[in-house]
């Protein structure tokens, strides 16, 4: 009798341990897996579903990379096109969204570098000086009374965008992913293929650069 109860107890312990392992090491659930599988089989509608789910976020990220709606449209479309054409290579190790944002970040960085080399941001900055920037430099509002209003203001938006446009591509990517898209460090590490520690230290350096650029307006 004693042996039987001991065996049952052992079995229960084993079951609990196995359940723990199953839950601890189960693969990440991906809501998009089914749509991705259908799409690889040639179902265009399935890809349209994925587009509808992510296009606003991807467009926003693209916009923040290039700072212009026309360029952002083209870049965001290029990102989806690349995803569509390379879907067969998606192995499902990570979530589809992580993979998509990985493509978006890489393409965004490349487009940003390309535009920067061609002096796109410098030219745009100088043209802005004639209108918006000139105004805020002449009449800096008293943000101490209403800092949120200042931060949400159109001029401030432009200033912050200009500040991140001056960042190095790697710094810009990490700031966009964390502070604008709100990804976790774990997700950013996967998207950028970096260790989590490096992600944090790079984010810190990037923010410090932005801080220096915004010092005049924020202090």
């Amino acid at each position: 009798m004693h042996h039987i109860s001991e065996t049952i107890l052992n079995c229960m312990c084993l079951n609990i341990v196995s359940l723990f392992f199953v839950f601890a090491f189960r693969p990440e659930t991906d809501d998009d897996r089914e749509a991705v599988e259908d799409c690889v089989k040639g179902d265009r509608d399935a890809f349209d579903l994925l587009v509808k789910k992510y296009y606003q976020r991807i467009y926003n990220l693209a916009y923040r990379f290039v700072g212009d709606s026309e360029e952002a449209s083209d870049l965001a479309q290029e990102i989806f096109l690349a995803a569509y054409q390379n879907l067969k290579k998606f192995r499902g190790d990570a979530k589809f969204s992580t993979w998509l944002f990985q493509i978006a970040t890489n393409r965004g960085k490349n487009r940003f570098k390309y535009l920067k080399r061609r002096g796109y941001f410098a030219n745009r900055g100088s043209s802005d000086d004639d209108d918006d920037r000139g105004d805020w430099q002449r009449t800096i509002p008293d943000h101490s009374t209403n800092p949120e209003a200042l931060l949400a203001g159109k001029q401030m938006q432009r200033i912050v965008q200009d500040a991140i446009d001056e960042l190095e591509p790697d710094h810009k990517a990490i700031v966009l992913l964390r502070d604008i898209e709100g990804f976790s460090y774990d997700e950013i590490a996967k998207i950028l293929d970096l260790p989590e520690g490096t992600t944090k230290s790079r984010l810190h350096r990037a923010r410090m650069v932005v801080k220096e650029k915004l010092k005049k307006v924020l202090s």
Binding site: Q56, S73, Y84, K88, D179, L218
Partner: protein
């Protein structure tokens, strides 16, 4: 000063509220004593806030239709199999890929050069004398019935070791070997069977036709019309070739099983192009061996 650096390194964690209580206490204690660090942390917090206050920008209304158009124009993912045949299955670093490509090109050039070499050898060493002149070697293009054989048996006939139908005709050899069209006609083996229309018997018509098509650019010829004809898989090709290439082409076709019969009743007789006297319109019929 060193402590200031350490404290500033903690800005990310403190801002995200990811430090333990002891570290948080020491951090606050330092800020209360160090105005520089305190100001820096305030500014740091405002910077993060400013970044997070950036508006979400909505895509334009025509974004989705435009994207749909671009997706429609692009190839679907499953067609990329061919594009990714090598890059996907055997991912190679760029230098290895380039080296492999260079080796392939080198091997091809060596092979091609050997072919040219064979052609440039003296006539006796590169030709095969056939006891039965029309006993073409078996292969894609083969013959079973050769009405012109008896006439050809009068003399030995050459057989190129590098068949034109499988590779290219070296242009320089063409000019040396082929006599131009003249009032006396074509001084080649083809002339003996008077083959303006040729029928090629082949068990693999599709490959024979493809082989001929590949050859045409090399002799500055072009395909005018291609259509089905006769039995299963039968085809008639109307090709325009330079007169100087006529002899070599027809010789090669004869070597591989061409016979002298016409291309068919529904086909117009061959003519010399009216536009230019140095072009020849040739009808070549491909049929299954009878």
């Amino acid at each position: 000063m060193k402590e200031c650096e350490l404290v500033r390194e903690l800005f990310v964690e403190v801002n995200d509220d990811e430090v333990d209580s002891e570290t948080a206490d020491r951090f606050r204690e330092h800020l209360s004593q160090c105005h520089n660090c305190s100001d820096e942390f305030t500014l740091y917090g405002r910077t993060v806030q400013a970044l997070s206050f950036l508006d979400r920008v909505d895509p334009p209304d025509d974004f989705l239709p435009q994207l749909a158009l671009r997706l429609d124009r692009s190839s679907p993912p499953f067609l990329n199999y061919f594009r990714d045949l090598f890059s996907g299955a055997f991912p190679l670093p760029l230098p290895a890929g380039v080296t492999a490509l260079a080796l392939i090109v080198f091997a091809f050039l060596t092979f091609y050069h050997n072919g040219e070499l064979m052609r440039s050898l003296p006539f006796e060493t590169r030709s095969i004398t056939h006891e039965a002149p029309m006993a073409a070697k078996p292969g894609i293009l083969s013959t079973k019935k050769m009405p012109g054989a008896d006439r050809l048996a009068a003399g030995p006939r050459t057989h190129s070791s590098t068949p034109v139908l499988h590779s290219s005709i070296p242009r320089n050899n063409f000019h040396e070997n082929i006599k131009p069209v003249a009032s006396s006609g074509f001084s080649t083996i083809a002339d003996r069977i008077g083959a303006d229309n040729l029928t090629v018997e082949s068990t693999r018509i599709d490959r024979a036709v493809a082989s001929l098509k590949r050859m045409l650019p090399n002799i500055e010829g072009k395909l005018v019309v291609e259509r089905t004809h006769g039995g299963i898989g039968g085809k008639v090709l109307r090709v325009m070739i330079p007169a100087r290439a006529y002899g070599d082409l027809t010789t090669e076709l004869i070597n591989y099983g061409a016979v002298e019969s016409g291309a068919g009743a529904d086909i117009n007789p061959p003519i010399v192009s009216k536009k230019s006297r140095d072009k020849v319109l040739l009808y070549i019929r491909f049929t299954q061996p009878r």
